[in-house]
Symmetry: C2
Subunit: 309 residues, 2 copies
Protein backbone atom coordinates (compact mmCIF):
# COMPACT_ATOMS: atom_id res chain seq x y z
CA UNK A 1 0.00 0.00 0.00
CA UNK A 2 1.10 3.56 -0.57
CA UNK A 3 2.73 5.54 2.22
CA UNK A 4 -0.11 7.94 3.09
CA UNK A 5 1.93 9.98 5.50
CA UNK A 6 4.29 10.78 2.63
CA UNK A 7 1.40 11.32 0.20
CA UNK A 8 -0.14 13.81 2.57
CA UNK A 9 3.15 15.71 2.72
CA UNK A 10 3.35 15.83 -1.09
CA UNK A 11 -0.26 17.05 -1.34
CA UNK A 12 0.38 19.71 1.31
CA UNK A 13 3.46 21.04 -0.51
CA UNK A 14 1.55 21.21 -3.79
CA UNK A 15 -1.51 22.82 -2.21
CA UNK A 16 0.40 25.46 -0.30
CA UNK A 17 3.25 25.95 -2.77
CA UNK A 18 6.04 25.65 -0.17
CA UNK A 19 7.63 23.13 2.20
CA UNK A 20 7.41 25.59 5.10
CA UNK A 21 3.69 26.23 4.69
CA UNK A 22 3.07 22.52 4.17
CA UNK A 23 4.86 21.82 7.45
CA UNK A 24 2.60 24.26 9.30
CA UNK A 25 -0.46 22.79 7.60
CA UNK A 26 0.20 19.19 8.64
CA UNK A 27 1.87 20.03 11.97
CA UNK A 28 5.33 18.55 11.38
CA UNK A 29 8.72 20.18 10.85
CA UNK A 30 9.79 21.41 7.39
CA UNK A 31 12.62 18.89 7.39
CA UNK A 32 10.12 16.07 8.02
CA UNK A 33 8.08 17.27 5.05
CA UNK A 34 11.17 17.47 2.89
CA UNK A 35 12.31 13.99 3.94
CA UNK A 36 8.90 12.39 3.30
CA UNK A 37 8.59 13.94 -0.13
CA UNK A 38 12.12 12.94 -1.07
CA UNK A 39 11.75 9.37 0.14
CA UNK A 40 8.49 8.93 -1.75
CA UNK A 41 10.09 10.33 -4.89
CA UNK A 42 13.00 7.94 -4.54
CA UNK A 43 10.69 5.00 -3.95
CA UNK A 44 8.51 5.86 -6.94
CA UNK A 45 11.47 6.78 -9.13
CA UNK A 46 9.74 9.98 -10.21
CA UNK A 47 9.93 13.64 -9.32
CA UNK A 48 6.60 14.66 -7.74
CA UNK A 49 7.28 18.27 -6.79
CA UNK A 50 9.01 20.88 -8.95
CA UNK A 51 10.95 22.86 -6.34
CA UNK A 52 10.48 26.58 -6.91
CA UNK A 53 8.70 29.62 -5.67
CA UNK A 54 5.97 28.44 -5.61
CA UNK A 55 6.52 24.67 -5.68
CA UNK A 56 4.33 22.99 -8.28
CA UNK A 57 3.32 19.43 -9.12
CA UNK A 58 4.77 17.28 -11.85
CA UNK A 59 2.20 15.31 -13.83
CA UNK A 60 2.79 12.31 -11.55
CA UNK A 61 2.50 14.58 -8.53
CA UNK A 62 -0.88 15.78 -9.80
CA UNK A 63 -2.20 12.25 -10.09
CA UNK A 64 -1.08 11.46 -6.54
CA UNK A 65 -2.79 14.63 -5.26
CA UNK A 66 -6.09 13.64 -6.89
CA UNK A 67 -5.70 10.20 -5.35
CA UNK A 68 -5.18 11.75 -1.90
CA UNK A 69 -8.29 13.90 -2.39
CA UNK A 70 -10.36 10.88 -3.34
CA UNK A 71 -9.12 8.90 -0.36
CA UNK A 72 -9.99 11.88 1.87
CA UNK A 73 -13.45 12.04 0.30
CA UNK A 74 -14.01 8.36 0.98
CA UNK A 75 -12.72 8.76 4.55
CA UNK A 76 -15.26 11.57 4.96
CA UNK A 77 -18.07 9.21 3.99
CA UNK A 78 -16.69 6.53 6.29
CA UNK A 79 -16.53 8.90 9.28
CA UNK A 80 -20.06 10.11 8.57
CA UNK A 81 -21.25 6.50 8.90
CA UNK A 82 -18.87 5.52 11.74
CA UNK A 83 -18.02 8.66 13.71
CA UNK A 84 -16.05 6.63 16.25
CA UNK A 85 -13.45 5.83 13.57
CA UNK A 86 -12.60 9.49 13.08
CA UNK A 87 -9.16 10.33 14.47
CA UNK A 88 -9.06 13.04 17.13
CA UNK A 89 -7.68 15.70 14.81
CA UNK A 90 -6.13 18.91 16.03
CA UNK A 91 -8.54 21.10 14.09
CA UNK A 92 -10.95 19.91 11.41
CA UNK A 93 -9.27 18.31 8.41
CA UNK A 94 -10.99 19.66 5.35
CA UNK A 95 -10.88 18.04 1.97
CA UNK A 96 -9.59 20.28 -0.82
CA UNK A 97 -11.38 19.68 -4.12
CA UNK A 98 -9.59 20.61 -7.33
CA UNK A 99 -11.95 21.78 -10.05
CA UNK A 100 -11.23 23.28 -13.47
CA UNK A 101 -13.65 25.95 -14.62
CA UNK A 102 -13.73 28.33 -17.56
CA UNK A 103 -13.21 31.98 -16.64
CA UNK A 104 -16.61 33.09 -17.94
CA UNK A 105 -18.45 30.48 -15.87
CA UNK A 106 -16.47 31.56 -12.81
CA UNK A 107 -17.38 35.16 -13.64
CA UNK A 108 -21.10 34.39 -13.97
CA UNK A 109 -22.89 31.33 -12.51
CA UNK A 110 -20.30 28.98 -10.98
CA UNK A 111 -19.74 30.58 -7.57
CA UNK A 112 -23.45 30.15 -6.91
CA UNK A 113 -22.85 26.38 -7.20
CA UNK A 114 -19.96 26.46 -4.74
CA UNK A 115 -21.98 28.58 -2.32
CA UNK A 116 -24.87 26.07 -2.43
CA UNK A 117 -22.57 23.11 -1.95
CA UNK A 118 -20.59 24.73 0.86
CA UNK A 119 -23.77 25.01 2.92
CA UNK A 120 -23.90 21.21 3.15
CA UNK A 121 -20.20 20.27 3.06
CA UNK A 122 -17.24 21.81 4.81
CA UNK A 123 -14.61 21.52 2.11
CA UNK A 124 -12.13 23.79 0.34
CA UNK A 125 -11.96 24.46 -3.39
CA UNK A 126 -8.88 24.72 -5.53
CA UNK A 127 -10.07 26.32 -8.75
CA UNK A 128 -7.99 26.10 -11.93
CA UNK A 129 -9.18 28.58 -14.52
CA UNK A 130 -8.77 27.85 -18.21
CA UNK A 131 -10.55 28.15 -21.54
CA UNK A 132 -13.72 26.01 -21.75
CA UNK A 133 -12.09 23.99 -24.52
CA UNK A 134 -9.07 23.25 -22.32
CA UNK A 135 -10.50 22.56 -18.85
CA UNK A 136 -11.18 18.97 -19.93
CA UNK A 137 -7.48 18.51 -20.59
CA UNK A 138 -6.78 19.17 -16.92
CA UNK A 139 -9.24 16.48 -15.99
CA UNK A 140 -7.67 14.08 -18.45
CA UNK A 141 -4.24 14.81 -16.97
CA UNK A 142 -5.49 14.14 -13.47
CA UNK A 143 -4.91 17.71 -12.29
CA UNK A 144 -8.52 18.13 -11.18
CA UNK A 145 -11.37 15.92 -9.99
CA UNK A 146 -14.03 17.66 -12.08
CA UNK A 147 -14.34 20.26 -14.81
CA UNK A 148 -16.79 22.66 -16.43
CA UNK A 149 -16.01 22.14 -20.10
CA UNK A 150 -17.36 22.60 -23.61
CA UNK A 151 -16.13 19.10 -24.43
CA UNK A 152 -19.16 16.96 -25.23
CA UNK A 153 -17.23 13.72 -25.54
CA UNK A 154 -17.05 11.90 -22.20
CA UNK A 155 -13.56 11.70 -20.76
CA UNK A 156 -12.41 8.21 -19.86
CA UNK A 157 -13.27 7.37 -16.27
CA UNK A 158 -15.62 10.36 -15.94
CA UNK A 159 -19.35 11.01 -15.78
CA UNK A 160 -20.63 13.73 -18.10
CA UNK A 161 -23.68 15.90 -17.44
CA UNK A 162 -25.06 18.54 -19.81
CA UNK A 163 -25.47 21.89 -18.03
CA UNK A 164 -26.84 24.35 -20.58
CA UNK A 165 -25.49 27.00 -22.93
CA UNK A 166 -23.44 30.06 -21.99
CA UNK A 167 -24.64 32.85 -24.28
CA UNK A 168 -22.28 35.47 -25.67
CA UNK A 169 -23.09 38.80 -27.29
CA UNK A 170 -20.62 40.63 -29.56
CA UNK A 171 -20.61 44.04 -27.88
CA UNK A 172 -18.92 47.43 -28.14
CA UNK A 173 -19.52 50.95 -26.83
CA UNK A 174 -21.72 53.28 -28.93
CA UNK A 175 -18.68 55.52 -29.42
CA UNK A 176 -16.62 52.59 -30.72
CA UNK A 177 -19.44 51.64 -33.09
CA UNK A 178 -19.54 55.18 -34.48
CA UNK A 179 -15.77 55.24 -34.97
CA UNK A 180 -15.36 51.83 -36.58
CA UNK A 181 -18.70 50.60 -37.87
CA UNK A 182 -20.43 53.76 -39.16
CA UNK A 183 -20.50 52.15 -42.60
CA UNK A 184 -21.81 48.81 -41.31
CA UNK A 185 -20.41 45.65 -39.74
CA UNK A 186 -18.81 43.60 -42.52
CA UNK A 187 -15.60 41.72 -43.29
CA UNK A 188 -13.88 44.98 -44.27
CA UNK A 189 -14.77 47.02 -41.17
CA UNK A 190 -14.14 44.01 -38.91
CA UNK A 191 -10.69 43.70 -40.47
CA UNK A 192 -9.83 47.20 -39.23
CA UNK A 193 -11.60 47.57 -35.86
CA UNK A 194 -9.63 46.31 -32.83
CA UNK A 195 -11.20 43.26 -31.22
CA UNK A 196 -10.68 41.89 -27.72
CA UNK A 197 -9.45 38.31 -27.38
CA UNK A 198 -9.09 36.60 -24.00
CA UNK A 199 -5.99 34.56 -24.86
CA UNK A 200 -4.53 32.38 -27.63
CA UNK A 201 -7.00 29.61 -26.81
CA UNK A 202 -10.05 31.84 -27.17
CA UNK A 203 -11.88 31.06 -30.43
CA UNK A 204 -15.15 32.85 -29.65
CA UNK A 205 -14.45 35.91 -31.78
CA UNK A 206 -13.53 33.68 -34.74
CA UNK A 207 -16.71 31.64 -34.23
CA UNK A 208 -18.78 34.81 -34.24
CA UNK A 209 -16.93 36.16 -37.31
CA UNK A 210 -17.61 32.92 -39.16
CA UNK A 211 -21.30 33.15 -38.27
CA UNK A 212 -21.50 36.87 -39.09
CA UNK A 213 -19.43 37.07 -42.28
CA UNK A 214 -19.31 33.51 -43.55
CA UNK A 215 -15.51 33.75 -43.54
CA UNK A 216 -12.63 34.04 -41.12
CA UNK A 217 -11.21 37.50 -41.70
CA UNK A 218 -7.92 38.32 -39.96
CA UNK A 219 -8.72 40.89 -37.32
CA UNK A 220 -6.51 43.18 -35.25
CA UNK A 221 -6.89 42.36 -31.57
CA UNK A 222 -5.98 43.26 -28.04
CA UNK A 223 -5.22 40.31 -25.73
CA UNK A 224 -6.90 40.67 -22.36
CA UNK A 225 -7.15 37.57 -20.14
CA UNK A 226 -9.83 38.79 -17.70
CA UNK A 227 -13.60 38.21 -17.83
CA UNK A 228 -14.42 41.45 -16.02
CA UNK A 229 -11.64 43.32 -17.83
CA UNK A 230 -13.19 42.27 -21.13
CA UNK A 231 -16.50 43.93 -20.26
CA UNK A 232 -14.71 46.98 -18.88
CA UNK A 233 -12.53 47.34 -22.01
CA UNK A 234 -15.64 47.17 -24.21
CA UNK A 235 -17.31 49.87 -22.06
CA UNK A 236 -14.20 52.03 -22.41
CA UNK A 237 -14.23 51.71 -26.18
CA UNK A 238 -10.92 49.85 -26.46
CA UNK A 239 -12.37 47.11 -28.67
CA UNK A 240 -15.30 44.85 -29.38
CA UNK A 241 -15.52 41.40 -27.81
CA UNK A 242 -17.68 38.40 -27.03
CA UNK A 243 -19.15 39.01 -23.58
CA UNK A 244 -21.29 36.63 -21.47
CA UNK A 245 -24.93 37.71 -21.61
CA UNK A 246 -25.23 37.82 -17.82
CA UNK A 247 -22.42 40.38 -17.53
CA UNK A 248 -23.65 42.75 -20.24
CA UNK A 249 -27.46 42.50 -19.99
CA UNK A 250 -27.62 45.66 -17.88
CA UNK A 251 -25.19 47.58 -20.10
CA UNK A 252 -27.10 46.56 -23.24
CA UNK A 253 -30.38 47.61 -21.62
CA UNK A 254 -29.11 51.06 -20.65
CA UNK A 255 -27.22 51.61 -23.92
CA UNK A 256 -23.68 51.73 -22.51
CA UNK A 257 -22.95 48.77 -24.79
CA UNK A 258 -24.58 47.77 -28.06
CA UNK A 259 -24.53 44.55 -30.05
CA UNK A 260 -22.44 44.66 -33.23
CA UNK A 261 -25.23 42.75 -34.99
CA UNK A 262 -28.38 42.68 -32.86
CA UNK A 263 -29.47 39.15 -32.02
CA UNK A 264 -26.36 37.48 -33.48
CA UNK A 265 -25.23 35.47 -30.45
CA UNK A 266 -22.90 32.54 -29.88
CA UNK A 267 -24.09 29.81 -27.51
CA UNK A 268 -21.45 27.58 -25.96
CA UNK A 269 -22.80 24.29 -24.55
CA UNK A 270 -21.21 23.43 -21.24
CA UNK A 271 -20.81 20.07 -19.54
CA UNK A 272 -19.88 18.97 -16.06
CA UNK A 273 -17.41 16.12 -16.25
CA UNK A 274 -16.46 14.47 -12.99
CA UNK A 275 -14.14 11.60 -12.18
CA UNK A 276 -16.23 8.47 -11.47
CA UNK A 277 -14.17 7.84 -8.33
CA UNK A 278 -15.17 11.24 -6.97
CA UNK A 279 -18.67 11.21 -8.37
CA UNK A 280 -20.38 9.31 -5.53
CA UNK A 281 -18.89 11.31 -2.65
CA UNK A 282 -19.41 14.49 -4.68
CA UNK A 283 -23.04 13.86 -5.63
CA UNK A 284 -23.99 16.96 -3.64
CA UNK A 285 -21.55 19.11 -5.60
CA UNK A 286 -22.91 17.80 -8.90
CA UNK A 287 -26.42 18.63 -7.70
CA UNK A 288 -25.37 22.18 -6.74
CA UNK A 289 -23.60 22.67 -10.10
CA UNK A 290 -26.65 21.44 -11.95
CA UNK A 291 -28.98 23.75 -10.01
CA UNK A 292 -26.80 26.85 -10.42
CA UNK A 293 -26.35 26.10 -14.14
CA UNK A 294 -30.11 25.74 -14.57
CA UNK A 295 -30.49 29.29 -13.25
CA UNK A 296 -27.45 30.87 -14.87
CA UNK A 297 -27.31 29.25 -18.31
CA UNK A 298 -29.67 29.04 -21.28
CA UNK A 299 -31.53 25.75 -21.04
CA UNK A 300 -33.74 24.32 -23.74
CA UNK A 301 -36.54 23.31 -21.36
CA UNK A 302 -37.13 26.90 -20.21
CA UNK A 303 -39.34 27.47 -23.26
CA UNK A 304 -38.95 31.27 -23.07
CA UNK A 305 -35.60 31.44 -24.86
CA UNK A 306 -33.82 31.65 -21.54
CA UNK A 307 -33.00 34.21 -18.94
CA UNK A 308 -31.70 36.91 -21.26
CA UNK A 309 -34.82 36.70 -23.39
CA UNK B 1 21.16 42.54 -40.33
CA UNK B 2 18.27 40.37 -39.24
CA UNK B 3 15.75 39.09 -41.78
CA UNK B 4 12.75 41.26 -40.90
CA UNK B 5 10.35 39.48 -43.18
CA UNK B 6 11.04 36.31 -41.24
CA UNK B 7 10.92 38.12 -37.91
CA UNK B 8 7.50 39.52 -38.79
CA UNK B 9 6.29 36.00 -39.55
CA UNK B 10 7.57 34.72 -36.19
CA UNK B 11 5.90 37.62 -34.35
CA UNK B 12 2.62 37.02 -36.21
CA UNK B 13 2.59 33.30 -35.29
CA UNK B 14 3.25 34.11 -31.65
CA UNK B 15 0.68 36.92 -31.54
CA UNK B 16 -2.10 34.94 -33.18
CA UNK B 17 -1.18 31.50 -31.85
CA UNK B 18 -1.33 29.76 -35.22
CA UNK B 19 0.41 29.64 -38.61
CA UNK B 20 -2.92 29.97 -40.44
CA UNK B 21 -4.01 33.08 -38.57
CA UNK B 22 -0.51 34.57 -38.93
CA UNK B 23 -0.75 34.03 -42.68
CA UNK B 24 -4.03 35.93 -42.84
CA UNK B 25 -2.59 38.69 -40.66
CA UNK B 26 0.46 39.37 -42.82
CA UNK B 27 -1.20 38.52 -46.15
CA UNK B 28 0.96 35.59 -47.26
CA UNK B 29 0.25 31.86 -47.54
CA UNK B 30 0.54 29.59 -44.49
CA UNK B 31 3.35 27.69 -46.20
CA UNK B 32 5.28 30.94 -46.65
CA UNK B 33 4.88 31.66 -42.94
CA UNK B 34 5.99 28.17 -42.06
CA UNK B 35 9.03 28.39 -44.36
CA UNK B 36 10.13 31.80 -43.03
CA UNK B 37 9.87 30.70 -39.42
CA UNK B 38 11.72 27.47 -40.11
CA UNK B 39 14.53 29.15 -42.05
CA UNK B 40 15.03 31.75 -39.34
CA UNK B 41 15.13 29.01 -36.71
CA UNK B 42 17.73 27.11 -38.72
CA UNK B 43 19.83 30.21 -39.25
CA UNK B 44 19.70 31.15 -35.55
CA UNK B 45 20.16 27.58 -34.38
CA UNK B 46 17.29 27.98 -31.94
CA UNK B 47 13.64 27.01 -31.77
CA UNK B 48 11.56 30.21 -31.74
CA UNK B 49 8.02 28.85 -31.82
CA UNK B 50 6.68 25.93 -29.78
CA UNK B 51 4.27 24.30 -32.24
CA UNK B 52 0.98 23.53 -30.55
CA UNK B 53 -2.57 24.67 -30.18
CA UNK B 54 -1.99 27.53 -29.57
CA UNK B 55 1.61 28.06 -30.76
CA UNK B 56 3.70 29.81 -28.14
CA UNK B 57 7.09 31.52 -28.01
CA UNK B 58 10.30 30.03 -26.68
CA UNK B 59 12.36 32.39 -24.56
CA UNK B 60 14.41 33.34 -27.63
CA UNK B 61 11.20 33.79 -29.60
CA UNK B 62 9.95 36.19 -26.94
CA UNK B 63 13.06 38.34 -27.19
CA UNK B 64 12.72 38.52 -30.96
CA UNK B 65 9.06 39.55 -30.61
CA UNK B 66 9.97 42.40 -28.28
CA UNK B 67 12.66 43.44 -30.75
CA UNK B 68 10.10 43.49 -33.59
CA UNK B 69 7.75 45.59 -31.44
CA UNK B 70 10.51 48.08 -30.70
CA UNK B 71 11.48 48.35 -34.35
CA UNK B 72 7.82 48.93 -35.22
CA UNK B 73 7.61 51.61 -32.53
CA UNK B 74 10.68 53.35 -33.96
CA UNK B 75 9.26 53.06 -37.49
CA UNK B 76 6.11 54.73 -36.17
CA UNK B 77 8.14 57.69 -34.95
CA UNK B 78 10.01 57.82 -38.25
CA UNK B 79 6.80 57.85 -40.31
CA UNK B 80 5.34 60.55 -38.08
CA UNK B 81 8.32 62.74 -38.96
CA UNK B 82 8.64 61.62 -42.61
CA UNK B 83 5.19 60.52 -43.80
CA UNK B 84 6.50 60.00 -47.34
CA UNK B 85 8.65 57.09 -46.10
CA UNK B 86 5.61 55.14 -44.94
CA UNK B 87 4.94 52.13 -47.16
CA UNK B 88 1.55 52.02 -48.82
CA UNK B 89 0.20 49.39 -46.48
CA UNK B 90 -2.83 47.30 -47.25
CA UNK B 91 -4.64 48.31 -44.10
CA UNK B 92 -3.08 50.12 -41.14
CA UNK B 93 -0.27 48.18 -39.47
CA UNK B 94 -0.75 48.56 -35.77
CA UNK B 95 1.98 47.98 -33.23
CA UNK B 96 1.12 45.40 -30.56
CA UNK B 97 2.53 46.29 -27.15
CA UNK B 98 3.13 43.50 -24.67
CA UNK B 99 2.61 44.58 -21.08
CA UNK B 100 2.57 42.55 -17.86
CA UNK B 101 0.12 43.71 -15.22
CA UNK B 102 -1.04 42.30 -11.91
CA UNK B 103 -4.64 41.06 -11.89
CA UNK B 104 -5.77 43.51 -9.22
CA UNK B 105 -4.42 46.52 -11.14
CA UNK B 106 -6.16 45.25 -14.27
CA UNK B 107 -9.33 44.85 -12.19
CA UNK B 108 -9.14 48.39 -10.80
CA UNK B 109 -7.16 51.29 -12.33
CA UNK B 110 -5.10 49.99 -15.27
CA UNK B 111 -7.69 49.97 -18.07
CA UNK B 112 -8.16 53.70 -17.47
CA UNK B 113 -4.50 54.12 -18.47
CA UNK B 114 -4.95 52.12 -21.67
CA UNK B 115 -8.09 54.07 -22.52
CA UNK B 116 -6.26 57.38 -22.08
CA UNK B 117 -3.31 56.23 -24.16
CA UNK B 118 -5.46 54.73 -26.91
CA UNK B 119 -6.98 58.16 -27.55
CA UNK B 120 -3.61 59.41 -28.77
CA UNK B 121 -2.07 56.25 -30.27
CA UNK B 122 -3.60 53.57 -32.44
CA UNK B 123 -1.92 50.48 -31.06
CA UNK B 124 -2.97 47.08 -29.72
CA UNK B 125 -2.22 45.70 -26.26
CA UNK B 126 -1.17 42.19 -25.38
CA UNK B 127 -1.69 41.95 -21.63
CA UNK B 128 -0.02 39.21 -19.60
CA UNK B 129 -1.57 38.89 -16.16
CA UNK B 130 0.48 37.68 -13.21
CA UNK B 131 1.09 38.31 -9.53
CA UNK B 132 2.58 41.76 -8.82
CA UNK B 133 5.70 40.06 -7.48
CA UNK B 134 6.11 38.10 -10.72
CA UNK B 135 5.26 40.58 -13.51
CA UNK B 136 8.83 41.91 -13.32
CA UNK B 137 10.12 38.45 -14.15
CA UNK B 138 8.32 38.64 -17.51
CA UNK B 139 10.05 41.92 -18.22
CA UNK B 140 13.41 40.44 -17.24
CA UNK B 141 12.81 37.51 -19.58
CA UNK B 142 11.96 39.81 -22.45
CA UNK B 143 8.36 38.63 -22.71
CA UNK B 144 6.95 42.13 -22.30
CA UNK B 145 8.07 45.71 -22.96
CA UNK B 146 6.76 47.08 -19.67
CA UNK B 147 5.28 45.87 -16.39
CA UNK B 148 3.25 47.01 -13.41
CA UNK B 149 5.15 45.41 -10.55
CA UNK B 150 5.74 45.54 -6.82
CA UNK B 151 9.47 45.15 -7.49
CA UNK B 152 11.20 48.31 -6.30
CA UNK B 153 14.62 47.36 -7.61
CA UNK B 154 15.13 48.64 -11.18
CA UNK B 155 15.41 45.88 -13.76
CA UNK B 156 18.49 46.04 -15.94
CA UNK B 157 17.83 48.07 -19.07
CA UNK B 158 14.59 49.48 -17.69
CA UNK B 159 13.27 52.76 -16.33
CA UNK B 160 11.38 52.54 -13.05
CA UNK B 161 8.64 54.92 -11.95
CA UNK B 162 6.81 54.80 -8.61
CA UNK B 163 3.04 54.75 -9.11
CA UNK B 164 1.45 54.61 -5.67
CA UNK B 165 0.08 51.97 -3.30
CA UNK B 166 -2.71 49.51 -4.02
CA UNK B 167 -4.66 49.19 -0.77
CA UNK B 168 -6.17 45.90 0.36
CA UNK B 169 -8.80 45.27 3.02
CA UNK B 170 -9.26 41.86 4.68
CA UNK B 171 -12.99 41.38 4.14
CA UNK B 172 -15.73 38.81 4.71
CA UNK B 173 -19.53 38.74 4.75
CA UNK B 174 -21.29 39.53 8.05
CA UNK B 175 -22.68 35.98 8.02
CA UNK B 176 -19.16 34.53 7.63
CA UNK B 177 -17.93 36.72 10.49
CA UNK B 178 -20.71 35.44 12.75
CA UNK B 179 -19.96 31.83 11.87
CA UNK B 180 -16.17 31.95 12.20
CA UNK B 181 -15.17 34.99 14.21
CA UNK B 182 -17.89 35.35 16.84
CA UNK B 183 -15.20 34.91 19.50
CA UNK B 184 -12.82 37.40 17.88
CA UNK B 185 -10.22 37.43 15.11
CA UNK B 186 -7.08 35.75 16.44
CA UNK B 187 -4.54 33.12 15.46
CA UNK B 188 -6.89 30.36 16.63
CA UNK B 189 -10.02 31.46 14.77
CA UNK B 190 -7.95 32.35 11.67
CA UNK B 191 -6.52 28.83 11.75
CA UNK B 192 -10.04 27.41 11.32
CA UNK B 193 -11.87 29.88 9.04
CA UNK B 194 -11.46 29.27 5.29
CA UNK B 195 -9.50 32.01 3.56
CA UNK B 196 -9.39 32.90 -0.13
CA UNK B 197 -6.02 32.85 -1.87
CA UNK B 198 -5.57 33.93 -5.49
CA UNK B 199 -2.86 31.41 -6.39
CA UNK B 200 0.38 29.91 -5.04
CA UNK B 201 2.21 33.18 -5.66
CA UNK B 202 -0.23 35.27 -3.64
CA UNK B 203 1.33 36.27 -0.31
CA UNK B 204 -1.16 38.99 0.66
CA UNK B 205 -3.09 36.88 3.16
CA UNK B 206 0.18 35.84 4.86
CA UNK B 207 1.33 39.47 4.96
CA UNK B 208 -1.94 40.49 6.60
CA UNK B 209 -1.79 37.56 9.05
CA UNK B 210 1.73 38.55 10.05
CA UNK B 211 0.57 42.14 10.62
CA UNK B 212 -2.58 41.05 12.47
CA UNK B 213 -1.30 38.20 14.62
CA UNK B 214 2.46 38.74 14.73
CA UNK B 215 2.88 35.19 13.45
CA UNK B 216 2.25 33.14 10.35
CA UNK B 217 -0.49 30.70 11.30
CA UNK B 218 -1.29 27.95 8.81
CA UNK B 219 -4.74 28.70 7.46
CA UNK B 220 -7.21 26.61 5.47
CA UNK B 221 -7.81 28.20 2.11
CA UNK B 222 -9.74 28.10 -1.14
CA UNK B 223 -7.71 28.87 -4.29
CA UNK B 224 -9.52 31.26 -6.60
CA UNK B 225 -7.52 32.97 -9.36
CA UNK B 226 -9.96 35.78 -10.24
CA UNK B 227 -10.01 39.36 -8.95
CA UNK B 228 -13.77 39.73 -9.37
CA UNK B 229 -14.38 36.13 -8.22
CA UNK B 230 -12.50 36.93 -5.02
CA UNK B 231 -14.90 39.75 -4.15
CA UNK B 232 -17.88 37.64 -5.17
CA UNK B 233 -16.74 34.68 -3.06
CA UNK B 234 -16.33 36.96 -0.03
CA UNK B 235 -19.85 38.35 -0.61
CA UNK B 236 -21.19 34.78 -0.81
CA UNK B 237 -19.57 33.85 2.49
CA UNK B 238 -17.19 31.25 1.04
CA UNK B 239 -14.14 32.71 2.75
CA UNK B 240 -12.30 35.85 3.81
CA UNK B 241 -9.74 37.45 1.53
CA UNK B 242 -7.63 40.49 0.77
CA UNK B 243 -9.65 42.62 -1.62
CA UNK B 244 -8.58 45.84 -3.42
CA UNK B 245 -10.15 48.85 -1.69
CA UNK B 246 -11.64 50.16 -4.94
CA UNK B 247 -13.62 46.94 -5.48
CA UNK B 248 -15.04 46.66 -1.96
CA UNK B 249 -15.54 50.29 -0.90
CA UNK B 250 -19.23 50.16 -1.85
CA UNK B 251 -19.77 46.77 -0.19
CA UNK B 252 -18.05 47.94 3.00
CA UNK B 253 -20.15 51.10 3.03
CA UNK B 254 -23.45 49.26 2.66
CA UNK B 255 -22.48 46.45 5.06
CA UNK B 256 -22.49 43.56 2.58
CA UNK B 257 -18.84 43.07 3.53
CA UNK B 258 -17.04 43.93 6.75
CA UNK B 259 -13.37 44.23 7.61
CA UNK B 260 -11.96 41.38 9.73
CA UNK B 261 -10.07 43.98 11.76
CA UNK B 262 -11.30 47.50 10.96
CA UNK B 263 -8.54 49.72 9.60
CA UNK B 264 -5.96 46.92 9.34
CA UNK B 265 -4.99 47.30 5.68
CA UNK B 266 -2.09 46.12 3.52
CA UNK B 267 -0.62 48.63 1.06
CA UNK B 268 1.32 47.25 -1.89
CA UNK B 269 3.61 49.80 -3.56
CA UNK B 270 3.50 49.51 -7.34
CA UNK B 271 6.05 50.54 -9.93
CA UNK B 272 5.97 50.97 -13.68
CA UNK B 273 9.08 49.43 -15.18
CA UNK B 274 9.60 49.94 -18.89
CA UNK B 275 12.34 48.84 -21.23
CA UNK B 276 14.62 51.81 -22.00
CA UNK B 277 14.45 51.00 -25.70
CA UNK B 278 10.66 51.34 -25.62
CA UNK B 279 10.60 54.16 -23.12
CA UNK B 280 11.04 57.08 -25.58
CA UNK B 281 8.43 55.95 -28.13
CA UNK B 282 6.14 54.96 -25.24
CA UNK B 283 6.44 58.21 -23.29
CA UNK B 284 2.73 58.78 -23.87
CA UNK B 285 1.86 55.38 -22.38
CA UNK B 286 3.99 56.08 -19.32
CA UNK B 287 2.21 59.40 -18.91
CA UNK B 288 -1.21 57.72 -19.15
CA UNK B 289 -0.18 55.02 -16.64
CA UNK B 290 1.11 57.65 -14.25
CA UNK B 291 -2.10 59.70 -14.52
CA UNK B 292 -4.44 56.71 -14.05
CA UNK B 293 -2.37 55.47 -11.10
CA UNK B 294 -2.51 58.91 -9.47
CA UNK B 295 -6.30 58.64 -9.53
CA UNK B 296 -6.65 54.95 -8.72
CA UNK B 297 -3.91 54.32 -6.15
CA UNK B 298 -3.07 55.70 -2.73
CA UNK B 299 -0.42 58.37 -3.19
CA UNK B 300 1.52 60.01 -0.38
CA UNK B 301 1.10 63.54 -1.71
CA UNK B 302 -2.69 63.41 -1.48
CA UNK B 303 -2.47 64.35 2.21
CA UNK B 304 -5.92 62.95 3.00
CA UNK B 305 -4.83 59.35 3.43
CA UNK B 306 -5.91 58.59 -0.09
CA UNK B 307 -9.06 57.91 -2.02
CA UNK B 308 -10.48 55.30 0.34
CA UNK B 309 -10.08 57.63 3.32
Amino acid sequence: MLDYQALKAVAAVIRTGSFDKAARLIHVTPSAVSQRVKQLEERMGAVLVVRGSPCTATETGDWLCRHVEQVELMEGQLFDAWPALSPAADGPERVTLSIAVNADSLGTWFLEALQRFSKTADCLFDLAVDDQEHTAERLRRGQVAAAVTSLEQPIQGCRRIYLGRLRYHATASPDFMARHFAGGVDAHSLGLAPALTFDRKDRLQQMWLAAATGGEPAIPTHWLPSTQGFVEAALRGLGWGMNPAALVAGHLADGRLVELIPGKVIDVPLYWQISRLASAPLAGLTEAVRAAAAEGLETEDRGQGGRQG
